[in-house]
């Protein structure tokens, strides 16, 4: 049964933006030289210490119960990665993806943080939320860890909003420079979840062509040519967001990767902090039209530390401005 907060007397109350994280995001250590590293989260914490962010409501990301991962993953896969967890050092799951002793707890807190944010936003305790955890999640498929990701955080949170809270329609918007193949895999046959992803093509993981549209036509892939920037990004996202408005989601989840930034070493697009501000405003416009402004955003990629800090700051600042 949906429990959605309604505004009083037609007026929208001022609500806050939540910021959820946990220290295990700092103990998920990757081998020396790995781009998905602890310093990414430290750069985000430093950027959000600025006075502009004093009103962020900071909370600890709880660990999701083990069963929550079953919303997206095969039991055999979960058992296999739990068994593979090392006592020290690392277990490689693929050439990119490593588990340290606390990595799985960190991944479960990324899921738990996103689900707690969904709870708070649907209960009307907050307008929006940003979950800053690592490892990221959008490459993890139903039975395969890949691309630095262990659990499909945002897809699991979408299924949680649908099945636990009883929502009818949820949108997942992904602007990481890499295609969210894992989210697509987990939501391929889910007509209640619309998934939109923009990403550089060609680039890892090789999926995300425009003709990949899901089992119900509910998946929209927006491949972007290498070297393109904010102009081209806006040109594909404006009509895509209009399609999402027609879908009328009751909640918007965001896979917020910041590696389309022009300074990022793993991507070849030319977005700037202003572009992250633009797309966040566009998402908030949509959320205000469709679902009383409810937006839950989770960190995915972003590997240039200065660009990551500045871009997350631009994203969160807009979420806060639009919460009041």
């Amino acid at each position: 049964m949906a429990r959605l907060a309604r505004p009083n007397q037609g007026e929208r109350a001022d609500l806050s933006t939540l910021f959820l994280t946990h220290d295990t995001g700092l103990s998920h250590v990757t081998p020396a030289g790995h781009p998905e590293r602890v310093e990414r989260l430290e750069a985000i914490f430093a950027a959000l210490r600025a006075p502009d962010f004093a009103d962020l409501v900071r909370r600890t990301a709880p660990a999701a119960p083990e069963a929550e991962a079953l919303r997206g993953h095969a039991e055999t896969y979960l058992k296999a990665i739990r068994t593979a967890l090392p006592d020290e050092g690392w277990t490689p799951l693929d050439p990119d993806t490593f588990m340290a002793p606390t990595s799985l707890e960190a991944a479960f807190r990324a899921v738990g943080g996103a689900e707690a944010a969904v709870d708070a936003v649907l209960a009307g305790e907050a307008r929006s939320a940003f979950v800053a955890m690592r490892p990221p999640g959008h490459h993890a498929e139903r039975a395969r860890a890949m691309g630095f990701c262990l659990l499909g955080t945002v897809a699991i949170a979408a299924k949680y909003a649908l099945d636990h809270h009883g929502l009818s329609r949820v949108a997942v918007l992904d602007f990481d420079v890499h295609h969210g193949n894992g989210t697509q895999d987990l939501l391929w046959d889910e007509p209640r979840a619309m998934f939109v992803s923009s990403h550089q093509m060609p680039l890892y993981p090789g999926t995300g062509a425009a003709d990949e549209t899901g089992a119900h036509g509910q998946i929209v892939n927006l491949p972007l040519a290498p070297g393109t920037g904010g102009h081209e990004m806006r040109a594909v996202w404006e009509p895509a967001l209009a399609r999402v408005a027609d879908f009328a989601p009751e909640l918007i989840l965001v896979s917020a990767g910041f590696d389309a930034h022009r300074d990022d070493p793993l991507g070849g697009l030319n977005w700037t902090e202003a572009d992250y501000g633009w797309i966040t405003h566009a998402i908030c416009d949509l959320a205000e039209d469709c679902c009383e402004g409810r937006v839950v955003s989770s960190l995915e990629g972003g590997y240039d530390l200065a660009a990551l800090g500045a871009s997350v700051a631009a994203h969160v600042k807009v979420l806060m401005e639009r919460s009041g």
Partner: protein, 78 residues
């Protein structure tokens, strides 16, 4: 052959096809994917340069000063 500038058109095309195949296969590591794309872009630029040079050579053959074919004029670098 790693020195792209010394590749023939055929060699560069073959290498470019390999890069595209790898990128589309999904088996390239995330961390190495951008470097592979950049190698592909250099190969593509080299192929385009070779094609342009060939087009110029054809133009020299087919267009004389009076607009009629009048033999082959050597083109520098070919």
């Amino acid at each position: 052959m790693s020195d792209i500038a010394k590749m023939s058109f055929e060699e560069a095309m073959k290498a470019l096809e390999g890069v595209v195949r790898d990128l589309e296969s999904g088996n390239v590591e995330l961390e190495k994917s951008i470097a592979l794309y950049e190698q592909g872009a250099r190969l593509k630029a080299h192929c385009e340069k070779k094609l342009k040079e060939a087009e110029e050579k054809v133009a020299k053959i087919t267009l004389g000063p009076d607009g009629a074919p009048n033999g082959i004029t050597p083109v520098e670098g070919l």
